[in-house]
Symmetry: C2
């Protein structure tokens, strides 16, 4: 079995690395937070002293980090993967980052005969824990079958999308749709509530039709209870939309609806609500119209 290096033991990385251990893979881990490393060692992992050290002992290196700068630093920086990595190894970056950065890092790694995949995930901590993430994979198709069994330990849906960077393009498309579906739900339900109509009746009447969506089913109960405990945080979604806007500018794609949702997220940050679940986007529309969408 391949030795797996795992860099980045945050809310998502920790359960993902644990699932690799449970599946029998030897896993060597690194994170700047000692406590997280310790937790993984107790679960059976080996300790790496740096990203470079992890890379030097692994065939497959997985990174699960907050955003583009952290991945650039862990892979290309001082003490990074590129300084220790063996020729013929594979790097799978499972972070959600700017697709252009994935492509740039991949180009650097090519020089060392290292193949890279960008494989961002969707589903959050619960699905990371039970190994049922949706994983969107970009990279060389001929090597995909080799990494697929490793990814299937962490995800129940592993989809090959295209060349390096397409995993993150797919993730960004996903986040645009989710953001606008939540925003649409917010505008609609605030209007209905201010008209004096019970929003729960509307939810029940429309969820089975063309307005039905995973967002409506997952987020409307939160809105009706006024409970926005995350889940997927507004601040994480904001980070993804920033990558959408940067990518859109680069590719010359006008995205004015997404831009507006970005402004909504900024307004929620000002209100101290950016650590709420992104279903809490609805609170922006509630504030504008001075009404709360709640279970009667």
């Amino acid at each position: 079995m391949k030795n797996i290096g795992f860099i980045g033991l945050g809310i998502m990385g920790k359960p993902m690395a644990k699932n690799l251990l449970k599946a029998g893979y030897p896993v060597i881990v690194y994170d700047i937070v000692e406590e997280s490393v310790h937790e993984l060692i107790e679960a059976g992992a080996q300790k790496g002293t740096s990203s470079e050290d992890v890379a030097s002992q692994s065939n497959v290196i997985i990174t699960m980090l907050p955003d583009s700068p952290e991945v650039q630093d862990a892979v290309l920086g001082e003490g990074g993967v590129i300084q220790g990595v063996k020729s013929g190894s594979i790097l799978i970056d499972m972070s959600s980052i700017n697709p252009k950065v994935s492509q740039e890092i991949s180009k650097e790694l090519e020089q060392k005969d290292v193949v890279m995949f960008d494989a961002p995930v969707s589903g959050g901590e619960p699905k990371a824990t039970d190994g049922s993430l949706a994983i969107m994979v970009g990279g060389p198709q001929q090597t995909f079958e080799e990494v697929k069994p490793v990814l299937e330990v962490m995800g129940s849906s592993v989809t090959y999308i295209g060349e390096i960077g397409s995993g993150n393009i797919c993730k960004l498309a996903n986040q645009v749709i989710v953001a606008l579906n939540i925003a649409g739900m917010g505008e609609a339900m605030v209007l209905a509530t201010k008209a004096g109509v019970d929003p729960e009746n509307i939810f029940n009447a429309i969820r089975g039709g063309l307005a039905g969506s995973a967002v409506l089913d997952a987020k409307m109960p939160m809105v009706l209870d006024g409970n926005f405990k995350p889940g997927g945080k507004i601040e994480t979604h904001t980070k993804d939309l920033r990558n959408v806007l940067d990518t859109a500018k680069e590719l010359e794609v006008p995205v004015f609806l997404t831009s507006q949702v970005m402004e909504i997220m900024q307004a929620l940050k000002v209100d101290g609500k950016s650590k709420n679940d992104h279903g809490g986007l609805v609170q922006f529309f509630e504030k504008l119209a001075n009404v709360e969408v709640r279970r009667k």
Copy 2:
């Protein structure tokens, strides 16, 4: 069995009236288009000479008309329902109109001891034909059980929402959500396509997750084929959003995302595309970014 009057034999009204005939109800019909009346007479209906005439011979009068002015005219105008209607009758307006207009008409009918429901539908011509519309009902709850069997002939989901006007409020909420779900899909898929990624791969990767929706499942295949044959027309959806904007202004609810989709629909009208299916909203984003989201 109740005598049913049916006023408005358009694309939706015709199959709905036919289903009432099939269920065994005596139906008396009226429309300004003689050809449509003739088609219903061949199917077993009786001919009314005006809305007034239809009302004078019915216990339940159903109106299925394009928008608020047509309903106002057919019910309150010269030769309208109110001039012939019998005390104790029930009017069910199944058109999608401004909820305030429903409330105003209901108030006039009260003077004649006539109860009114607003019961707009969702599902389009195919579901009107096979009697599986979603019907959202506003009106007096104590009379709802009386009209429910009639509505169940035309719809597979008949939901009581609240007082008169709530049926249309629910329909407007539905249309806001559908419009923004389509727009979000458009912005996301145009970005991905311009990035060189196969939009069908993205569709398959994300449809089972939080970005999944009835809109994505119904409209993405149209977009991938570049075939925007209606279905639900952009011009019909535009009419609904105009009622959203009027209602939102009346209730003091800022709806700036819906306002932007309204502008998108206006731009598509300028382009001669307003008779396309509303999945064709995506064409606006395609034009802006100069790229087409198509099956490869």
